[in-house]
């Protein structure tokens, strides 16, 4: 069952112009990022949640928790890659659910040129309904943080319906799922 969802998610993400890799363990994250992007460490900013949730150390970039809020915007505008954790993967539409978090500001997935999401296979949901029901259980009414759903890179078809990738948001979007095929 989970495998079916995983494959569906993967193909949906690819259809909308993103990429999706599966890694057996958190240690594979660095390899995948290194093989895709040749950025210096300073150009990569990583959400504080990734290290915590996956109990990892030595990730190839700077942790956002170490950046002063006043410097954050300038830093992220210069950054090449923003790496976030997530709160759900929706197989039906190839969507990543990001709930705002003190260690994961919205700008991190918005300002850098590239956005990569780290997720666990157990975070897969068949549809958005199921994920939203879960969110409502986790947070009492009036305390749900803001939520962003991402289903691909920034795009437009405003000029003669020609698809162009990369308008105002990240020009590339990828997902690394920690799990097994």
């Amino acid at each position: 069952m989970e495998n079916k969802l995983l494959y569906r998610f993967q193909s949906r993400i690819q259809e909308s112009g993103g990429w999706c890799e599966i890694s057996a363990s958190g240690d594979g994250i660095s390899d995948i990022l290194n093989s895709k992007y040749m950025f210096e460490k300073e150009k990569i900013v990583i959400s504080g949640r990734v290290a915590k949730e996956l109990q990892l150390s030595g990730l190839p970039g700077m942790c956002i928790d170490e950046v002063k809020p006043n410097n954050r915007r300038a830093l992220l505008s210069e950054a090449k890659l923003g790496v976030t954790f997530c709160d759900g993967l929706i197989a039906e539409t190839g969507t990543v659910v990001l709930i705002n978090h003190p260690s994961e500001p919205r700008e991190l997935s918005l300002l850098p040129e590239y956005h990569v999401v780290i997720a666990k296979q157990t975070q897969l949901y068949e549809s958005l309904d199921k994920c939203f029901t879960k969110i409502k259980q986790l947070y009492p009414a009036g305390s749900i943080p803001s939520i962003t759903l991402v289903s691909g890179p920034s795009r437009t078809s405003d000029i003669e319906k020609t698809l162009v990738i990369g308008v105002h948001g990240p020009v590339e979007f990828g997902v690394i799922i920690i799990g097994s095929r």
Binding site: R12, S16, P69, R72, R73, S77, I90, E92, T93, G94, T95, N100, H101, P102, S103, E104, P105, R106, E107, L110, S127, L128, D129, F132, T133, K136, A141, G142, S143, I144, P145, S146, I147, T148, L149, V150, S151, G152, P153, S154, R155, T156, S157, D158, I159, E160, K161, T162, V164, G166, V167, H168, G169, P170
Partner: protein, 462 residues
């Protein structure tokens, strides 16, 4: 632009082969993509029915849902403003901008702000408004208005846009959409980083959690709602849906119907301004809720359905009239079938009296509408209302009385047929019929009518 000039503009548009081919191409692509992603959903009809019920439930009880939404939004620390009419809404928005002494605002695509003529008002008061959706940016540079609710620059070819960018932005001429988009990205990113106020519309507002949901592809709405210190979200009352639990349903219907996507690249669900859990985003979140005649419309037993609309634009894409005349001909912020339904009922029936007649009543709009609005029947009933109110000319009225008198008797109908045949014979191809023959030939009328053939066949026992 006024709806009262529909006929003149429609005639011009129909004569513009270039415009027609641009519209046909764009609407055709949208419909094809929609078909692909709708056909993979087995219970699409059920979803439409459920969505219709939910929209009905909300509009029928709009006062109580509105109260609940406002309570929830305030609990989220949003500042809520209610505006009975357009003027009040504009004043509220202007005051918010003045209070933070901002001179520039960045704005993402929103039909309600078009309805408010917000940009004109703000610019008259010395505030620079920057449209950031690529289509809207193009339309703003050209000094025009959107011609489609989800694809504002649908009436422009890439060559049109290349010329526009070349002239207005001083860049070398290029008609490559990738290059043109890159120019917009670069110019606008700076504006986003500088702006202190961001203005957006709202797609859905949930009564139980006070969540504002914005659906988009470019990330300009995300930037408008994340970077500036103040976010002003503008919505009309009917954007409310009962519950956060209903969002997935509408998010299944809207992107598929609007752009043929399973989900747009981004959906932002805003639950309040900056806080511990929302470490960035605006410090102030204002929600301006416009009535603008909607509470009144919600009481009408039939036309309240127009308020169920989720502004996907599918009815425009599929409408043979829209495909032929384009969005500007309607002279309304809302073109196409839903525009023809809502413009006379919400704004001014006298001015917009031609719009309900701009339909072949084929019903394609009703079939495609994700919330099952009975669009073509509303157009029909609005026609009756327009006649009852006496907006039609006396010539037309006399013609209709005469036609009715003829149709009520088989003998008279047959006689009329003969008279028609006689004149067709006499005048040949030059037989005049205003509104018809300038563009087409009057058809030949056979000497023997269908009924006389039937009669003689019967006599000869066939």
């Amino acid at each position: 632009m006024k709806s009262s000039q529909f006929k003149i503009r429609a005639r011009q548009a129909v004569g513009d082969a270039d415009l027609r081919s641009k519209i046909k191409k764009a609407t055709g692509i949208s419909l094809l993509k929609r078909e692909q992603v709708v056909s993979e959903i087995a219970d699409w009809e059920d979803l439409r029915r459920r969505a219709h019920e939910l929209r009905k439930e909300t509009v029928d009880n709009i006062d109580s849902y509105l109260r609940r939404f406002i309570e929830s939004a305030r609990r989220n620390n949003a500042i809520v403003h209610e505006a009975d009419d357009h003027k009040t809404a504009n004043k509220i928005i202007y005051d918010i901008i003045r209070r933070v002494s901002a001179h520039t605002v960045v704005k993402s695509k929103s039909m309600i702000t078009e309805e408010l003529h917000l940009n004109t008002m703000l610019e008259e008061n010395g505030i620079r408004v920057i449209e950031t959706d690529l289509g809207e940016y193009i339309v703003q540079l050209a000094g025009e208005t959107p011609s489609h609710i989800t694809a504002p620059a649908l009436h422009k070819s890439k060559e049109d846009i290349a010329r526009l960018f070349h002239e207005k932005l001083n860049i070398p001429y290029s008609d490559d959409p990738v290059k043109l988009t890159a120019v917009a990205r670069e110019r606008l990113r700076d504006e986003f980083l500088k702006a202190r106020v961001g203005i957006t519309g709202v797609n859905f507002a949930t009564a139980d959690t006070g969540t504002l949901t914005i659906v988009e592809n470019e990330a300009n709405a995300r930037l408008c709602t994340t970077l500036p210190e103040v976010h002003i979200a503008i919505m009309s009352i009917e954007k409310i849906i009962p519950s956060f639990d209903d969002l997935p349903l509408f998010l299944k219907l809207l992107p598929r119907s609007a752009s043929g996507q399973r989900m747009t690249s981004y959906v932002t669900c805003i639950n309040g301004p900056r806080s511990y859990h929302n470490p960035d985003g605006p410090r102030q979140l204002h929600i301006v809720i416009l009535d603008g005649g909607r509470k009144q419309l919600a009481k009408h037993p039939a036309w309240k359905e127009a308020l169920y609309c989720i502004r996907c634009g599918a009815c425009m894409n599929i409408c043979p009239i829209y495909q032929s005349v384009g969005g500007h001909a309607y002279g309304s912020v809302y073109p196409g079938p839903i525009g023809s339904v809502i413009t006379p009922t919400l704004f001014n029936m006298k001015d917009a009296q031609d719009l309900p007649f701009a339909s072949s009543l084929c019903g394609a709009c009703t079939d495609i509408c994700p919330v099952k609005i009975d669009l073509h029947h509303h157009l029909l009933f609005e026609r009756r209302e327009i006649v009852n109110r006496g907006y039609k000319s006396s010539v037309e009225k006399i013609g209709m009385v005469l036609w009715r008198w003829i149709m009520l008797s088989p003998g008279r109908l047959e006689f009329a047929g003969r008279v028609g045949w006689f004149f067709r014979k006499l005048l040949g191809k030059n037989m005049p019929a205003p509104g018809w023959t300038p563009h087409r030939q009057f058809p030949r009328i056979p000497l023997r009518s269908f009924r006389s053939i039937m009669r003689s066949d019967k006599k000869h026992g066939k």
